[in-house]
């Protein structure tokens, strides 16, 4: 049995142990993972062959079984992007981050459901499946990295990769009680990952603990010439840096937009966490972020414009095979001119420059809600079947998209359960390349709330 084991518990240089662990995970993916509608691809021969070759003994992920969102390409595996319009396509490349995980000794156990083209935040996907939340299978996982969140929350693998363009790592991580890292723009290569938005896509882990999330980020970050927007940050990440605590940190509390824009249950829970941060030695500083109100919509305009550029031919030729919601989101970007697009990108840069300088002059990090309301059921958030759900769906990215627009790193950490028994989480946001500090703060909350001791009663 490998369920609910951590990376450090699963790490091994013994090929026999690695094979046994991989077999257990493959069986769990085939049964529990498929029952959760979270799995798209398993290749037993490949996985057991990879595990049977002696994993490098000193590598950070030696023998550790993982599985990832279906957007992460491996040569010869399906490359459908969660869409019937791409049914039967196979990858002819392996993503840089997958190659890095291979080199770190990880065992690749398969691919997990994504929202079609990663363009949606609820997790609904009529073609690949709508993953069920392991905490209560009537509820959504959130999207678009919904399969990754479901499988990690069910304890099948300790961590999985997701992608985040408007909240697609943070929303499912938060809904499923996981640590999610949306890294700084440029920190992790997107080369070989099915694209949605070239200016906004980011790659990061979802994991049951801060330590496991950190181990994956350590393995995948770094400059890559295969991604034109990859930066050479020379960032130093290590597990020892996690244990510094919150004492002495200056923590921002943004009432306007984030707290007053979220439902009372969520705002009160976030305020309670900020209060605990003060008890743990943090200094709480009220902040405002001028202009933040328009960033959600502007972020969507970039996504729609770039997605329209990438998927134009698919929409024109195969829209009948696509989800109507996906088509509508892409169509909204089809009328943007080159001048408007360049104006938008220039505004993003100038706004980020001013906001980063002003916001982080007096604080080290910001704490906000992730979801603006309690996680909804699959039925209540199905905008395709229920037009009344559209306003609710449009609000989901309220607290996450602004930080994609700014390119900032953000980490979600679970702090308890809501009145429906679904996880409640907060989002920690820092200046560019402050992942080490954010993970240190997340680790302090993890110790304080001991959320990882809770497990969903799944299957």
């Amino acid at each position: 049995m490998t369920r609910y084991q951590s990376v450090s518990e699963l790490r091994t240089s013994d090929a026999g142990v690695a094979s046994s662990q991989a077999l257990s995970v493959l069986n769990d993916l085939d049964t529990i993972g498929r029952a959760l509608d979270a799995v798209t691809h398993i290749d037993r021969d490949f996985t057991l062959s990879q595990a049977g070759n002696s994993p490098p003994g000193n590598s950070v992920l030696s023998g550790v079984p993982l599985a990832h969102k279906e957007l992460f390409r491996r040569e010869g595996w399906p490359d459908e992007g969660g869409s019937r319009s791409h049914q039967g396509r196979l990858s002819n490349e392996t993503a840089t981050v997958i190659q890095k995980l291979d080199q770190a000794g990880a065992i690749d156990c398969g691919r997990l459901v994504s929202v079609e083209f990663a363009l949606g935040v609820t997790g609904h996907n009529a073609y690949a499946g709508t993953p069920k939340n392991p905490w209560n299978t009537s509820y959504i996982c959130g999207g678009s990295s919904s399969g990754s969140a479901a499988v990690v929350a069910a304890g099948i693998v300790p961590a999985a990769l997701g992608s985040d363009t408007g909240g697609s790592i943070r929303l499912p991580a938060a809904a499923c009680g996981l640590v999610g890292i949306k890294p700084s723009q440029g920190l992790v290569s997107r080369n070989g990952v099915f694209p949605l938005s070239t200016s906004l896509d980011t790659i990061g882990p979802l994991a049951r603990s801060t330590e496991d999330a950190c181990r994956l980020l350590m393995a995948i970050h770094g400059h890559d010439t295969g991604d034109r927007e990859s930066l050479d940050t020379r960032m130093s990440l290590d597990l020892a840096g996690l244990e510094g605590g919150i004492g002495g940190l200056r923590i921002g509390r943004a009432e306007r937009y984030f707290l007053d824009g979220s439902d009372t249950d969520v705002a009160d829970a976030t305020d309670a966490v900020i209060g605990e941060a003060e008890k743990l030695g943090g200094e709480i500083i009220p902040v405002s972020i001028p202009g933040i109100e328009s960033t959600n919509a502007l972020n969507f305009l970039i996504i729609a414009t770039e997605a329209a550029h990438i998927h134009r031919d698919t929409v024109l030729n195969s829209h009948q095979q696509m989800n109507e919601q996906t088509v509508m989101r892409i169509l909204a970007g089809m009328f943007t001119s080159d001048a408007e697009y360049r104006k938008l990108l220039a505004h993003r840069a100038r706004y980020a420059q001013q906001t980063i300088a002003a916001l982080f002059e007096n604080i080290d990090l910001l704490i906000t809600p992730v979801w603006p309301f309690l996680v909804p059921t699959i039925e209540a958030s199905d905008a395709g079947a229920n037009p009344d759900a559209a306003p609710l769906v449009q609000r989901i990215g309220h607290n996450t998209r602004p930080f994609n627009f700014l390119g900032l790193p953000a980490v979600t950490v679970p702090v308890g359960l809501d009145r429906n028994g679904l996880p409640l989480s907060v989002q920690l946001v820092g200046r560019p390349f402050s992942e080490r500090l954010l993970l240190r703060c997340a680790r302090a909350f993890e110790r304080h709330y001991s959320f990882w001791e809770r497990k969903p009663d799944v299957l």
């Binding site: 328009s294 550029h309 134009r312 009328f335 104006k343 220039a346 390119g407 560019p432």
Partner: protein, 59 residues
Amino acid sequence: MTEKPTPVTEEKLAAAGLPDEQIKLALKTSADLLTLLEDLPPDTDGLRLLDIYESEISS
């Protein structure tokens, strides 16, 4: 992205078989979003987010 966006006309979408109702709704959504850009200055210096982030690294 480095490529220029290539706007699509209503006629081209209609010729592709997209329902008129969807096209009209998409046009309205697009127009509402593009309104947000009206008061912004044009892109004169080509400044991009990654330029800001590169300067963060070197500072």
